[in-house]
């Protein structure tokens, strides 16, 4: 989470001050957790809506699976990856996406808050603005992604005969956590564009988030330019492809990149925080 980057990146101080910062960060996390749980509770009150949300999301994710099935019914390999390996990739994208929706769904509220003039309330409260924004909502729909992704992950790894020892399991947890932070950071930064483009109907954030769809297939499937973009500009390659090189035990020159992929999350979080700060300096209020 970004708060980790926040509390560690800073000037050198006495250990006592560091402990104080960690305690403050812990308090922020507790507040955040409580707010999100409240949102979840509120959503669960409307049972029919909850079911529709979960089913709708599950259907949407299943569409991708149908696509993968249709592809592999024609050929045994795509860019050297077989059906279950691609399924594994798919799961490595779907689970973090679901976690992001479940934990951090507040990104999409920035536009609404800024355009309706409610953003000033956020700024005067004694909590970091970005934390409040993230705590605006919790998306129950995310549960569908997590459940479906976990099921695919389990099934694919069974089909591939992967051996899950402690090391691999621990790395998987790191990868999932890192990817969740990465996706959250990308979505958050994309939504911060509203500070530069306040028009209520601009859909650039949607577009940027759509690019995570690329992560559902192995990078070698894409041409050179696209592949370069997916690693450097919009780093979706770190969500699934590079980590799976390590998890699936594949031979590749990029294994090292795979090992450090979870770190892409905190790095992206720092960048997102920077975008947020720059956006705030541009914010002038919409009048009230």
């Amino acid at each position: 989470m970004a708060r980790g980057a926040d509390s560690v990146a800073g000037e050198r101080r006495a250990p006592g001050a560091l402990m104080a910062r960690l305690r403050a960060a812990g308090r922020l996390a507790a507040v955040f957790a409580r707010l999100q749980l409240l949102h979840l509770q509120a959503h669960l009150e409307y049972e029919a809506d909850f079911l529709i949300g979960v089913v709708g999301n599950a259907l949407r994710l299943s569409v991708g699976l149908v696509f993968v099935w249709a592809l592999f019914s024609q050929v045994p390999h795509i860019a050297g990856w077989d059906l279950w390996e691609v399924g594994f990739l798919y799961a490595l994208v779907t689970i973090p996406q679901g976690l992001d929706i479940l934990v951090f769904n507040g990104h999409w509220s920035i536009r609404r808050l800024v355009n309706s003039g409610q953003f000033d309330r956020i700024l005067v409260r004694p909590l970091p603005g970005w934390l409040q924004v993230l705590a605006q909502d919790s998306g129950v729909n995310g549960l569908a992604g997590i459940a479906l992704g976990a099921a695919i992950l389990w099934y694919s790894s069974a089909q591939l005969g992967l051996a899950w020892d402690i090391c691999r399991l621990a790395f998987l947890v790191c990868v999932l956590a890192g990817s969740t932070v990465l996706i959250a950071a990308m979505t958050f930064a994309a939504n911060c564009l509203v500070f530069w483009e306040p028009a209520a109907t601009a859909t650039l954030p949607d577009l940027l988030v759509r690019t995570t769809e690329f992560a559902k297939f192995p990078l070698p499937a894409y041409g050179g330019v696209v592949r370069f973009l997916l690693v450097s500009v919009i780093p979706v390659g770190f969500i699934s492809y590079f980590p799976s090189l390590v998890l699936l035990g594949k031979e590749s020159d990029w294994l090292v990149v795979g090992m450090v992929s979870p770190l892409a999350g905190p790095v992206a979080a720092v960048v997102a925080h920077f975008v947020w700060s720059r956006g705030l300096t541009r914010y002038q209020g919409v009048g009230h």
């Binding site: 949407r60 099935w69 592809l71 795509i78 859909t203 577009l207 769809e213 690329f214």
Partner: protein
């Protein structure tokens, strides 16, 4: 709201503005699309992103396999992707969400007070927006097809002639299906979930995701007997010349029948649905 003003101006200034309320709504909707053209373009580019993914993945598949899969060679498949993309741009998610949201937010109560039939009014708005969306999507698809994709033109003169009417019929089917699902919005707040569900089912069964021939047998059978294929599969098949002679007219007739059947269903279900107007907004 532009729609109200358009209707009022239509009544007051008969010389210059359309008399018909529906035409006024359609014009206003098109004007709104033009005014917010960045949104339209961004939506199209967003769908384009997914098409780029499809393009690359299929390219990989065709590189390592025999030349024709289910009767589609690489050139046909490229064209299919492009034409399906353009056709799918009509009645975009944005327009549809607008309709769903108007029910979810309670604005429908205001709409119901107007002397216009609710469904026809929404259809007029959808057509107005689609005129603009279609023009932009068509231009995008054409330039991409000619410059980058190497797509093929319509298979024959007849195909070219019948393509647009087929698209129009498909559009009507899409609208009616969407409207039927929107009726559910009278009973639930989670319009986003409904949109997702509708989009998912439509994407698979209409041929927007993959040509129907590629679906697993049971899904293919389901698609063949469902209205969704009229939205993408039929128009694109007309364009590619995969429907000829009798099959062509049968398919067009089927589209017409689905439009009639769905329209009837919508009219029947409308009364009971609207009786449950719980205004959720304020």
């Amino acid at each position: 709201m532009p729609a109200t003003h358009a209707a009022e101006r239509a009544a007051a200034d008969v010389r210059l503005t359309p008399r018909s309320g529906y035409l006024a709504l359609a014009t206003a909707s098109m004007q709104r699309s033009v005014a917010y053209r960045n949104t339209t373009i961004m939506n199209l580019v967003s769908n384009l992103v997914w098409m780029v993914v499809l393009f690359h993945v299929w390219q990989s598949v065709y590189k390592s396999s025999p030349s024709a899969l289910h009767g589609y060679d690489w050139e046909l498949m490229r064209t299919y992707l492009l034409v399906a993309f353009a056709t799918n741009a009509l009645l975009s998610l944005a327009v549809e969400s607008e309709m769903f949201f108007s029910i979810g937010s309670g604005r429908v109560a205001v709409e119901l007070m107007r002397p216009l039939d609710y469904m026809s009014a929404r259809l007029a708005e959808a057509l107005g927006a689609a005129a603009f969306e279609g023009a932009i999507a068509g231009a995008m698809a054409f330039s991409l097809g000619a410059l980058v994709f190497g797509a093929t033109p319509p298979a024959s003169g007849l195909a070219a002639l019948l393509f647009l009417p087929s698209v129009l019929l498909g559009f009507l089917v899409k609208f009616l299906l969407s409207f039927l699902i929107a009726l559910l919005c009278f009973r639930t707040l989670n319009t986003k979930g409904l949109v997702w569900a509708r989009a998912a089912v439509t994407d698979v069964l209409s041929g927007a995701l993959v040509p129907l021939a590629f679906l697993p047998d049971w899904l293919h059978a389901l698609a063949a007997s469902a209205p969704f294929q009229a939205i993408i599969h039929t128009p694109v098949s007309v364009y590619l010349g995969r429907l000829e002679g009798d099959a062509l007219w049968h398919a067009l007739g089927a589209q017409l029948l689905w439009v009639a059947a769905l329209w009837l269903l919508a009219r029947v279900l409308w009364r009971p649905a609207v009786r449950v107007v719980t205004v959720q907004g304020g």
